[in-house]
């Protein structure tokens, strides 16, 4: 079973995403910000990361850059999931190493389509 780290400072979003991804047979780990997420990845690298952009302590963009520098940090497929829905943010995310990008609001269909797109399903 593949693991997915859900990184979002909103407990509601984490809960909704967890429900969707558990339905797609992922084992879920959660983090409330980029720093927590980075610590999780250092100890146990997930197969996938569903990543918010705007979070306290460390935002999603800084987390992604740091993740890609970690040993084995090139392995997880990273799917941004954010309210930042403009081309500039999308291009920055791809440049930092994101594999896909979800613009909130999202539903199961979109998450499934994006995870399929990057070969996670």
């Amino acid at each position: 079973m593949k693991t997915c780290l859900i990184v979002d400072d909103s407990s509601v979003i984490r809960k909704v995403a967890r429900r969707i991804l558990e339905g797609l047979s992922f084992t879920i780990v959660e983090a409330e910000d980029g720093q927590q997420a980075l610590e999780t990845c250092r100890s146990n690298m997930p197969d996938a990361v569903l990543l918010d952009w705007n979070m306290p302590v460390m935002d999603g963009h800084d987390f992604l850059k740091a993740l890609r520098r970690l040993p084995g940090g090139d392995k997880p497929k990273v799917v941004f999931c954010t309210t930042e829905n403009d081309v500039v943010h999308i291009a920055r995310a791809l440049h930092a190493g994101a594999n896909e990008y979800i613009m909130k609001p999202f539903d199961k269909e979109i998450v499934e389509a994006k995870f399929q797109e990057v070969g996670l399903i």
């Binding site: 829905n85 081309v87 291009a91 389509a113 797109e117």
Partner: protein, 291 residues
């Protein structure tokens, strides 16, 4: 709606669009047609049926037909047909059409345009391989409303997140307010026109590739056979036909045959020279035996 009125609508829709409605689909007819009845001031579906029976009701008839069509679509839907297009159809056609440098593609049921634009993006991204080629994409649909949307090439955030990889979104679309507008060069690659699949295709010319996906499922067997045979007649001998995952030619026509190991992909079968006629006479024989 009385059984007689429902029966009238079933026959009306079959005749106008080929849509085969089973007897248990009364709820579907009611949910799709009640808004039209309200809009035109008909008290109920019975009154709407009465209007349809009147002479000169063609405009209303078209509204009813369009309301019953299913326009579900998204970019790169089902993926596999587009992989076939990229890895099987186009390489074969680029080799066999090298002298004329011309390829004609037809999306028979293009809905709001995501399918033909997906093909156009693939072609665009082939870059130098198609430079100097004239590649036409004809996109048709029964419903004029969705064709207008397709022509505009403007999609909601929800629509561009269904099937479209993010890299292609920022490459081929521009954000305009809360919509995403497809690039003019991609839009210019597709020509749209309304077309009923029950009509003759002879004036459309010949095609190298036909995408006819997820529409035959709404037809009964007789209509499927008719459409497939007429598609075969406008296909180049080495052309390709892509059908939906739940659709096939097997058992319906000998004018087309599956391409081995390419799920959903079919080719004209010239080994059955009179294949079309054979299948038609076969169908007639079955009717006689049944009768």
């Amino acid at each position: 709606m009385t059984p007689v009125e429902f029966d009238y609508l079933r026959h009306f829709l079959k005749k106008k669009s080929g849509l085969a409605l089973s007897a248990d689909k009364q709820y579907l007819v009611e949910s799709r047609l009640l808004p039209i009845a309200r809009r035109v001031g008909a008290a109920n579906l019975g009154a709407l049926v009465a209007r349809l029976r009147e002479p000169n009701s063609e405009a209303l008839a078209m509204q009813v037909v369009e309301a019953m069509t299913t326009n579900e679509t998204f970019f790169f839907r089902d993926k596999i047909p587009f992989e076939h297009f990229r890895t099987t159809m186009m390489p074969a056609l680029l080799a066999s059409r090298a002298a004329t440098k011309r390829i004609r593609i037809w999306c028979t049921s293009a809905s709001s345009g995501q399918e033909p634009y997906s093909l156009a993006m693939i072609l665009k991204d082939m870059g130098a391989a198609t430079a100097g080629w004239r590649i036409d994409i004809l996109a048709t649909d029964l419903a004029s409303g969705v064709i207008e949307k397709a022509r505009r090439g403007s999609y909601s955030q929800f629509e561009v997140q269904r099937g479209l990889p993010i890299g292609l979104l920022i490459k081929h679309f521009t954000q305009v307010g809360d919509q995403w507008q497809i690039a003019p060069d991609i839009r210019a690659m597709v020509q749209y026109r309304p077309l009923n699949l029950l009509c003759d295709f002879a004036n459309l010319g010949m095609f190298d590739v036909i995408f006819c996906r997820n529409v035959l499922i709404y037809f009964d067997e007789e209509t499927k056979i008719g459409v497939l045979n007429r598609l075969a007649q406008v296909m180049a001998p080495d052309g390709f036909l892509a059908l939906g995952a739940a659709e096939t030619v097997v058992g319906l026509t000998r004018a087309l045959k599956p391409i081995p190991d390419k799920r959903g992909l079919y080719a004209p079968d010239r080994s059955a020279e009179s294949g079309v006629g054979m299948m038609r006479s076969g169908a007639a024989k079955l009717t006689l035996v049944a009768g």
